[in-house]
């Protein structure tokens, strides 16, 4: 689309440099060139933002840790002791463990395949010369602007014809490649992998696939890790398509979670206990890989 030059400008530039530099090292100094430490107002504002980011989660834990009879009289600001009981009712009313397993399978497989195919294509676009490469790359970028969500009806028809509705294949296959992944790896490898290195390997007699395997892949590793992380989170939180194509008895986590509320009587202490339970896995991932996620976004990630 017409937004291509702009996306290139913002999203790709300096991705390699930023990754090498790492998260911590940046030019010191606030705007104005001073080394001045910011004051109370700055930290106050940030504290408020942080509170806004975390409070809804804390709130759902509060509600989820009380009995529903307590909730109806107003929520106390200290957690109650009912969380495990509520969590047990969640496990009784939705196939939670099955959904958790499904989410892990779907997200892992999708992330792995996106990384593999994107790195292959990105290596070709960034480092190999071939006829039509420019045009094809523009096509890849243009498709990033096309919302895949709009093809749900035919996608559903295809899945129904294949007999895949209700199975995890129906969720995995449409996510198996992304234009964003190809674009991301192309941008990264263009800067991170010197042409001379490939030439050297080629002169030593390595085939193309060996050059990819021994030189391309190792160079791509940091960007590949981030792409995997992003794809994993995006697939995990995805709702619309799994909701359409999966059976309530074989759901992913968001689909299962939504079932909690579909009952006629809504018990919020159970619904929000479920929300907490479903968020814990990604919070754990965030605790481990949050730094990478931050630096990945700062290299110009695009919403999936």
């Amino acid at each position: 689309m017409s937004s291509i030059p702009m996306i290139e400008q913002t999203a790709g530039k300096g991705a390699a440099r930023a990754a090498q530099r790492g998260l911590g090292a940046r030019r010191r100094g606030a705007p104005g060139g001073t080394m001045r430490r910011p004051g109370f107002l700055t930290y106050g504002f940030l504290g408020a933002v942080l509170l806004g980011s975390v409070f809804p989660l804390w709130w759902s834990f509060l509600v989820g840790s009380h009995d529903s009879s307590v909730i109806s009289k107003g929520v106390p600001m200290i957690p109650g002791g009912n969380f495990l009981a509520n969590a047990a009712s969640v496990l009784d009313s939705i196939p939670f463990w099955k959904a958790l397993g499904n989410s892990i399978i779907v997200s892992t497989v999708t992330a792995a395949s996106v990384v593999l195919f994107s790195t292959l294509a990105g290596f070709a676009f960034a480092k190999l010369r071939f006829r039509g490469s420019k045009g094809l790359l523009v096509f890849v970028i243009a498709t990033m602007a096309v919302p895949t969500q709009l093809g749900v009806v035919p996608l559903f028809i295809v899945m129904a014809k294949l007999g895949w509705t209700g199975s995890l294949w129906a969720v995995i296959v449409p996510g198996i490649v992304t234009a964003f992944g190809v674009f991301w790896m192309t941008q990264y490898l263009r800067d991170a992998l010197p042409d001379e290195l490939i030439e050297a390997v080629r002169i030593d007699g390595a085939s193309m696939i060996k050059a990819f395997w021994y030189v391309g892949l190792p160079a791509a590793r940091p960007a590949a890790a981030m792409l995997a992380l992003f794809t994993f989170v995006a697939t995990w939180t995805n709702f619309f398509w799994p909701f359409i194509v999966l059976d309530p008895s074989n759901p992913t986590l968001p689909v299962a979670l939504q079932l909690l509320q579909a009952a006629h009587f809504v018990d919020y202490s159970i619904v929000l206990a479920g929300a907490v339970l479903s968020t814990i896995p990604l919070l754990l991932l965030f605790a481990v890989a949050g730094r990478q996620l931050v630096s990945g976004i700062m290299q110009g990630a695009v919403k999936g």
């Binding site: 017409s2 913002t10 705007p31 806004g52 895949t148 490649v177 359409i244």
Partner: protein
């Protein structure tokens, strides 16, 4: 390789001449292979993407157009060709226009404050902070909460009776807001969920762009006597223009497809008793899987696609114009 083979294993009993001949042939052959390797490999490496994308991305998009021109039932499958009848039907529906209005309202309520707030947060994060990584990770926490979970949590916070927000409002002597029945209030509530999830993410994108601004521009501004606020509006914001365009366009594409948060804002999932907050994507779902009419659902999908293209183009033209003017100055 062929050469070393010959040196290492001189076949004692056979004729040396023949051995050399085959190795020369082998050398030529391997050269040919290498040539094909160079020529074909790139296409081989990009083909998985293009093949799979053609099947899972491009084909459905085009097939949507085909389906939209037929009467098509979820159970019965393809019916007769009806030309533009589905489009005529949909465009005559009040619910369609209601969904268009809701989508735009929610989209504006979410994207405008989101971009403004994200720039402000980025500006603060750009300061010489202590525990920088901690703050950056802090604003990103909502990003790992699934939209459905966000929807459920805020559905509780925005509850009409005894919801936290209404408690606070009545606490300071105001009337409670009917979040689930007033149209605009429900849009504000859903927009809040979207903002909750994406503001920190966008702030980090802006932060990255801010750090790319050369520091000597600020030094020059300081020498010219510009204060920090003036510097922010006269230096930082104009220099962020490409990033702002980028964020606005991605927010547009995402914002016009809102489904998850709106879907779980009540139990029925149709967007309220009078469809006060039914978005276009929810309408597609209702037509396709509620009423089992795939033809009409596809017609709405294509209309939504056209709307997105038009808005994205308009966005781009407007912002480019502003950017050009900025460049000339």
């Amino acid at each position: 390789m062929a050469v070393t083979d010959r040196v290492q294993s001189p076949p004692p009993n056979t004729n040396r001449r023949t051995s050399r001949d085959t190795s020369v042939k082998r050398l030529a052959f391997s050269q040919k292979v290498s040539k094909w390797d160079v020529k074909l490999s790139p296409y081989l490496y990009i083909s998985p993407f293009f093949l799979l994308f053609a099947i899972t991305g491009l084909f459905p998009l085009l097939y949507t157009a085909w389906v939209s021109l037929h009467s098509w039932n979820l159970i019965g499958g393809q019916g007769e060709f009806t030309a533009l009848e589905n489009y005529e039907f949909v465009l005559a529906q009040p619910f369609f226009w209601n969904a268009v209005g809701n989508t735009f309202s929610i989209f504006l309520l979410s994207s405008v404050p989101q971009v403004v707030l994200a720039i402000a947060i980025a500006a603060v994060l750009d300061a010489n902070l202590r525990a920088r990584t901690f703050w950056r990770m802090g604003v990103l926490v909502p990003f790992v909460v699934a939209p459905v979970a966000v929807g459920l949590i805020f559905n509780n916070l925005f509850a009409d009776q005894a919801g936290l927000f209404n408690e606070l409002l009545t606490g300071i002597g105001l009337d409670p807001v009917r979040w689930h029945s007033d149209s605009l209030a429900s849009h504000a509530a859903i927009a809040t969920m979207v903002n909750f999830r994406w503001t920190g993410y966008n702030a980090l994108i802006f932060l990255a762009a801010m750090q790319a601004i050369p520091r000597d521009v600020y030094e020059a501004a300081t020498i010219d006597g510009a204060g920090r606020l003036r510097q922010f509006f006269s230096v930082t914001v104009p220099m962020l223009r490409p990033t702002i365009i980028f964020v606005v366009i991605t927010a547009t594409i995402g914002g016009l497809q809102i489904f998850d948060e709106a879907r779980v804002f009540d139990q029925a999932g149709l967007g309220g008793a009078d469809r006060q907050w039914q978005t276009l994507t929810m309408y597609i779902w209702e037509l396709g899987w509620g009423q089992r009419n795939f033809g009409r659902a596809s017609a709405v999908a294509w209309l939504l696609f056209l709307i997105i293209v038009v808005i994205a183009m308009a966005n781009f033209l407007i912002t480019r114009r502003i950017a050009n003017q900025g460049g000339r100055r």
